[in-house]
């Protein structure tokens, strides 16, 4: 997927910002915090995971999503969000 396709979605950007802020979350919690439905959230998470930006960890029935520590894409996104938020504060 091209970069513009990944980042053209407002929901995906919100998901990434949320995960950057809180570390790791399950689908329901992401959906609840962003006031979007479960299926939509899952769909966007799948796209982000296919791009190796995020990864999930399974604990029984629970899946926790977080940034993919090994992915350069994930690092770039985290840097972008961090720098952006910092600049907005100044």
């Amino acid at each position: 997927m091209q970069i513009e396709e990944v980042f053209c979605s407002k929901i995906r950007m919100k998901i990434l910002k949320l995960i950057e802020r809180l570390g790791e979350l399950n689908v329901s919690e992401i959906a609840r915090r962003l006031s979007i439905n479960y299926e939509t959230t899952s769909r966007h998470l799948k796209i982000l995971e296919e791009e190796s930006i995020i990864q999930h960890k399974v604990f029984g029935r629970i899946r926790l999503y977080r940034f993919n520590e090994r992915s350069p894409k994930a690092k770039a996104v985290q840097n972008l969000i961090g720098t952006w938020e910092q600049a907005n504060k100044q």
């Binding site: 809180l22 790791e24 329901s28 604990f59 029935r61 629970i62 926790l64």
Partner: protein, 391 residues
């Protein structure tokens, strides 16, 4: 202009959560605990330990565990063992195994979800996390009685046997169960009781001399030199001894007396300050319980306090409280919870002893619940809650 002079050097050293480096008259028990868990420094994977600590209120159970936890974790890190000490007050978690385990899991994964799975699944998740991180946990279940009360034998069984059943895997979870006495344990079935292995440490109540030593220790770190006289310490020790040797009560009283001294700008804590303080004290055990209440439980209790404050009445009905609660909610910009929810709050507050309920059958309009505030002065309760709600 008059300058403000406080008797305190560092009043945080009198806080209920402060864990001193030295525990006067609990050195033997501390050594015994370290001995019980010494295997963790050599072969942590081989076994899981279970210890029961008993003792009345203010005999140093909690602080002993916390001191031990800090010391053990430090020792373990020297040997390269990834050991976490987790201290949970079961009463604060309503005696729920699920909530206790959830708290433990959040030590490793702070945003772990709270809904949608069972306590067993949570325990499996915890063991999975510990396996993956090659970590060990000493879990202290403070006020263990409330866990037994709510969950019975099943909870203890799950905490002990389920990890034992994992074939060829390291034992990850050790337990310290803290309780006032062994009566609650007797309610467990025999096989569950045996899983606790019954390494028991009983803390005797402190003598007046021991309380004096404890107070002197705290005075030296919390107050300015010469701010607290020997007579003052002796009076506090005497009062605390009559309160069943309660060291927590003694330290709370010392702090309050210091506050009175500061208010009057005396420059020293006199016995008179102690007498002032003791007349207005809410035992810290109540304060601790107030702090652990949820927002609407506090709002509900604030409504109760307001009803009784300045009135000569001995009881109020739930309907009356509900009306005042609605006003309180408006004041705090909160949506009032339903009658059923308030009923649950009432049950909880009765269970922890802040309120008392009685069913009235005398009237002509059927049964109604009468609510009493038996032990805490309403104005004190309102004050404590107002402070707590502002935090």
């Amino acid at each position: 202009m008059k300058t403000y002079r406080s008797v305190f050097r560092d009043e945080a050293k009198l806080d209920i959560n402060y864990v001193p480096h030295r525990l006067p008259h609990r050195e033997g028990e501390h050594r015994l605990l370290m001995e019980f868990f010494s295997f963790m420094l050599r072969f942590p994977e081989k076994m899981a330990q279970r210890v029961i600590i008993t003792g009345d209120v203010g005999t140093g159970k909690t602080v002993l565990c916390q001191r031990f936890g800090a010391d053990m974790t430090r020792e373990a890190s020297k040997t390269g063992t990834n050991l976490r000490y987790v201290h949970v007050n079961c009463r604060e978690y309503r005696g729920s195994l699920f909530l206790v385990l959830h708290h433990t899991v959040t030590v490793f994964h702070p945003t772990f979800p709270k809904r949608g799975y069972s306590a067993e699944e949570l325990l499996s998740a915890l063991l999975q996390i510990l396996d993956e991180e090659n970590a060990y946990v000493i879990l202290t279940l403070d006020e263990f009685e409330s866990l037994i009360e709510r969950e019975g034998s099943e909870a203890v069984y799950k905490l002990t046997r389920l990890q034992e059943a994992r074939s060829n895997k390291p034992q990850r979870l050790s337990l310290i169960c803290v309780m006032r006495n062994l009566r609650a344990i007797e309610r467990l079935d025999a096989s569950t009781r045996s899983t606790l292995q019954l390494n028991i440490i009983n803390l005797e109540k402190y003598s007046k001399e021991q309380l004096t030593d404890i107070l002197n220790d705290r005075v030296s770190i919390a107050f300015k030199p010469l701010a607290v006289s020997e007579e003052t310490v002796s009076l506090i020790a005497e009062l605390a001894f009559s309160e069943n040797g309660n060291a927590r009560f003694a330290i709370e009283l010392l702090w309050r007396a210091g506050k009175y001294a500061d208010t009057e700008d005396l420059g020293a804590v006199t016995p008179e300050c102690v007498r002032e303080a003791v007349s207005g004290i809410i035992p810290t055990v109540r304060k601790g319980e107030l702090a652990s209440l949820k927002l609407h439980e506090k709002l509900f209790l604030l409504a109760v306090a307001r009803i009784f404050k300045g009135s000569q009445r001995a009881f109020a009905t739930l309907a009356e409280i509900e009306e005042v609660y609605a006003v309180v909610c408006e004041e705090f910009d909160e949506r009032a919870h339903s009658h059923t929810q308030l009923w649950k709050y009432l049950q909880l507050l009765s269970a922890i002893g802040i309120l008392k309920t009685e069913v009235s059958t005398g009237g002509t309009r059927g049964r109604s619940t009468l609510v009493y505030l038996p032990r805490i002065p309403a104005h004190e309760l309102e004050k404590e809650l107002s402070v707590s709600l502002k935090k």
